[in-house]
């Protein structure tokens, strides 16, 4: 039950057949097997197509190389997916994260733009905190709509998704606000102990979220709400408050993602910052083995999912395909991974789909093969 446990581990069936086959089954049934395999194959393919792809060098005390770039590019989707994963665990969805990125960046940069000295550490810190706070505000709004008013998450968060870019536009007054502030810029393009700052931010945030979720009861409550909201409420879980909290967390993380994503260019482009990033985040969550219908979630899988996503984007360039076709390849990988991990397909391949049918009417029969119980 470590935080990074992935689907399949717990549900793994009892030992049957030969030992080698068991290990093989265990491995292939691990929720992260197919995404990881896809990631490794893709990186190897890139390595073959583009010699030097796998090289990591140290230049000026900083890590350099394509793999390092991949990790840097994974930071934003990972931050978004962390929040998205928690929201999805409760049975919800947050479509507004892309727009929230744009708002947060717009607020931060506008504040810097108006500051006397955009490079002063205090000013930059305030700008960052403002961006995060704005993200949190967006999350509060989403959470109030979903948990307070009971609006369907898809619709509730679509409001901010659509309106968000307009709000960002108002903040930047229709301009693409550009600022010069080296300390702020370093959030996106700097290094900490030789490691790119975005990577450090993403990894630290990942660790904090894991602690928050698995060292408190929050994770269990999220899963229990996502699986059976009414039973959770009757067991005393404050499902509305907990749901609201999760949207706020997702909002803050989206704000952070906006800053990390926009810092290298220092340009608050309200129309394009974070465009379609909500779908990337959902894809990372799904690739990581968490189901969209809520309940069990797997934060560890997000690391693989985020890397897979950015590797894919890079692979399109390496194989000299038109970059407009990137979404197509994302879709292909998504389909491949989902199909490979599909329990229905596995059951079909094993030629027994009967287990599904015992849910049907009639008497309250055991719905599960006896083997799992007697294990």
């Amino acid at each position: 039950m470590s935080p990074t446990t992935a689907p399949g581990q717990r549900a793994a069936g009892p030992a049957r057949g030969s030992r080698g086959a068991d290990v093989w089954r265990e491995v292939t049934h691990h929720g992260l097997f197919w995404p990881l395999l896809a990631l490794v194959l893709l990186i190897l393919a890139c390595g073959v197509a583009s010699p030097g792809f796998l090289d990591v060098t140290v230049r000026d005390g900083h890590l350099f190389g394509q793999l390092v770039d991949l990790m840097r590019n994974s930071a934003t989707p990972l931050l978004l997916a962390l929040g998205m994963c928690l929201v999805i665990a409760t049975g919800g969805i947050d479509l507004s994260v892309g727009a929230v990125m744009a708002i947060a960046l717009a607020v931060s940069l506008t504040y810097l733009d108006n500051a006397a000295d955009p490079s002063a550490p205090g000013t930059v810190l305030t700008a960052v905190l403002l961006g995060l706070a704005v993200g949190g505000l967006g999350g509060m709004f989403n959470g109030a709509m979903v948990a307070g008013l009971g609006i369907q998450p898809f619709i509730a968060t679509m409001i901010l998704m659509v309106a968000g870019r307009g709000i960002a536009m108002l903040i930047t007054q229709g301009q693409i606000t550009t600022v010069t502030s080296p300390p702020f810029k370093s959030i996106g393009s700097g290094f900490v102990l030789g490691v790119p700052t975005p990577v450090v931010i993403a990894v630290v945030t990942f660790g904090l979220v894991v602690l928050l979720v698995r060292r408190t009861a929050l994770g269990m409550f999220l899963e229990s709400i996502g699986i059976n909201r009414e039973a959770s409420r009757l067991a005393g879980v404050r499902s509305r408050r907990t749901t609201w909290t999760v949207y706020v967390i997702a909002g803050v993380l989206a704000g952070l993602a906006g800053l990390v994503y926009g810092a290298p260019t220092m340009a608050a482009d309200a129309n394009n910052i974070g465009l379609m990033k909500e779908l990337d985040a959902i894809m990372v969550v799904v690739l990581g083995g968490t189901k969209l219908d809520g309940g069990r979630f797997y934060l560890g899988g997000l690391l693989v999912g985020a890397m897979l996503l950015s590797t894919l984007e890079r692979a399109v360039i390496i194989f000299q395909l038109p970059s407009q076709t990137t979404p197509l390849f994302k879709a292909l990988v998504l389909i491949a991974v989902c199909v490979a991990a599909s329990p229905t397909l596995r059951a079909m391949l094993r030629g027994r789909r009967r287990a599904d049918r015992s849910d049907a009417p009639a008497a309250p029969v055991e719905t599960t093969p006896a083997q799992e119980v007697t294990a």
Partner: protein, 512 residues
């Protein structure tokens, strides 16, 4: 009621339907005469809904024959049943809430000019049908803007449009208030006068006796009997449904009730409710709950048993009344509020409101305890392991594996895990709603024994069950519920038997 009608409009003979492992209907006969209201009675699982579904074409019969107006028909689907003149109004209205009243009433029977619908004529026609039911609603208004009662009447109007000979009303009154029920019955009577045969299913005995002409009783998928309403007093009806004659019941009752003596030194009650009630759920009631005592709640399904439990446990918020816990005035605004005052509630619907299927046994046990501690103070791992291990052993939960997903356990073991969930919160008051439903005999006995022991250790227990014997065996005091109100409270002395309780249910009905 008019004189004996000539020929039945529906005649079902020798109907059998089997599901895997269950014989839902076994050689059942049923007939329905024009111009009568015919009540179909039976406990849960008696086969009422299966019979209705056979008649409305939802289920196909394995053997037997169905005749409508003397001709044998094959009902392979709802549309064929409708074509044969059989219309159904379900408990939950099966119309389209987002269409207008006229559209709903006339759906599929709109007035057409070639491919086009003449909406004006359609609305006019809908208004005529509504008028026949003395229903004063604007045909252009949205169906969803009306109460459930009006929506049901619209569903009946729809039955008129298709010129139904048979109208099936499946629990139509369960969400209606008294005035609405009266309105519905007025419509049913006028349909009856028009020669429509009405099949009526309800858990409310009063309503059965108010509106029906004839009763058919089913039990365990078999026909018990068909009676004119006048020939079947309430007590006999209940006995027929439950399957024991009143006299026989009186004989076998032999109380294993036990070492526990009734608290004569009534200190102060743990919980006192005064005038606690909720509109449309349960009428205001008073009740005192004492430490060390099991209070049994008896009543038929839908009598308000569960609603009473939900008000006492914070699951629903009451409209009226006060609750005092250890004489301090308290508002039980949420399950958590009740839990933190030591009140735990194990629900009737284990699957929907009890287990969290994809979580482990350990997590399911921990849930309520953790909720009480709050999100930020997780139960230390070792402490939780101890608690879980203790309950798995004490309740003999099988498999004894805390990491098993609860949905993979059998019903009885799921129930034990839920009991462990509540017991782990160290409650002062434990409310058990049907804790032994659908579990095997062994587990049932274990749970009954456990409940007795808990009370002996000073816990206050509310025990709700459909099985009168069980309630009687376990409890020291009894609350009798009927038609969503508390009708009586009795001390469970030796001369109280299931027959006494049945009488109480029936008599209080007659008195009302």
């Amino acid at each position: 009621m008019s004189a004996a009608p000539p020929a039945p409009v529906v005649q079902m003979t020798g109907i059998s339907i089997a599901f895997p492992g269950v014989k839902a209907l076994d050689d059942v006969g049923f007939r329905l005469f024009p111009g009568e209201v015919h009540a179909l009675m039976g406990e849960n699982g008696a086969g009422k809904s299966t019979l209705i579904k056979a008649l409305t074409g939802v289920y196909q019969i394995d053997s037997g024959r169905i005749e409508v107006e003397g001709r044998e028909v094959r009902l392979d689907g709802p549309s064929q049943a409708q074509a044969a003149g059989i219309s159904t109004v379900y408990q939950e209205v099966n119309l389209c809430a987002n269409l207008t009243v006229a559209e709903n009433v006339m759906l599929g029977h709109e007035v057409r000019h070639g491919p086009f619908i003449d909406w004006r004529a359609t609305r006019r026609k809908a208004a005529e049908y509504l008028h026949r039911l003395h229903l004063d609603v604007d045909p252009r208004s949205m169906l969803s803007s009306h109460t459930i009662a009006v929506q049901q009447l619209c569903a009946i109007a729809r039955a008129l449009v298709v010129d139904a000979k048979v109208l099936v009303l499946d629990e139509p009154t369960s969400s209606l208030d008294n005035a609405e029920v009266a309105e519905l019955f007025r419509v049913v009577r006028s349909l009856k006068d028009d020669g429509v045969a009405v099949l009526f299913v309800s858990h409310f005995l009063d309503q059965i006796y108010e509106i029906s002409d004839r009763i058919t009783v089913l039990r365990n998928g078999r026909l018990v009997g068909e009676h004119m309403i006048a020939d079947l007093p309430r007590r006999d009806l209940i006995a027929a449904m439950i399957g024991k004659s009143g006299d026989a019941l009186a004989g076998i009752e032999e109380k294993a009730r036990s070492t526990i003596t009734i608290h004569s030194d009534r200190e102060e009650p743990f919980l006192t409710a005064v005038g606690l009630g909720k509109n449309g759920s349960v009428q205001p009631f008073d009740v005192d709950l004492y430490a060390g005592e099991i209070l049994g709640v008896a009543g038929l399904l839908g009598s308000g048993r569960t609603e009473l439990a939900r008000l006492l446990s914070g699951a629903d918020r009451p409209d009226t009344g006060d609750v005092r816990v250890q004489s301090a005035l308290t508002r039980l605004t949420s399950p958590l509020a009740a839990l933190s005052r030591g009140i735990a509630y194990s629900t009737e619907d284990r699957k929907k409101e009890g287990i969290v299927g994809d979580l482990t046994v350990r997590e399911n046990i921990a849930l309520a305890m953790q909720a009480r501690r709050g999100t930020w103070r997780p139960i230390p791992r070792r402490q939780l392991d101890d608690v879980v291990a203790r309950y798995i052993t004490a309740l003999q939960i099988s498999p004894p594996n805390p990491n098993a997903l609860i949905r993979n356990l059998s019903g009885g073991n799921q129930q034990k895990v839920l009991l462990a969930r509540w017991l782990a919160t160290a409650p002062r008051l434990l409310i058990l709603d049907e804790p032994t439903r659908g579990i095997d005999v062994g587990a049932k006995a274990e749970i009954q024994k456990l409940v007795t022991e808990l009370a002996q250790d000073g816990m206050s227990v509310v025990f709700i069950s459909s099985e009168l014997e069980e309630v009687l065996r376990l409890s020291q005091r009894l609350v009798v519920m009927r038609d969503r109100q508390k009708v009586d409270e009795l001390v469970n002395t030796d001369d109280v038997t299931t027959a006494t309780i049945l009488e109480t249910i029936a008599e209080s009905g007659a008195r009302a």
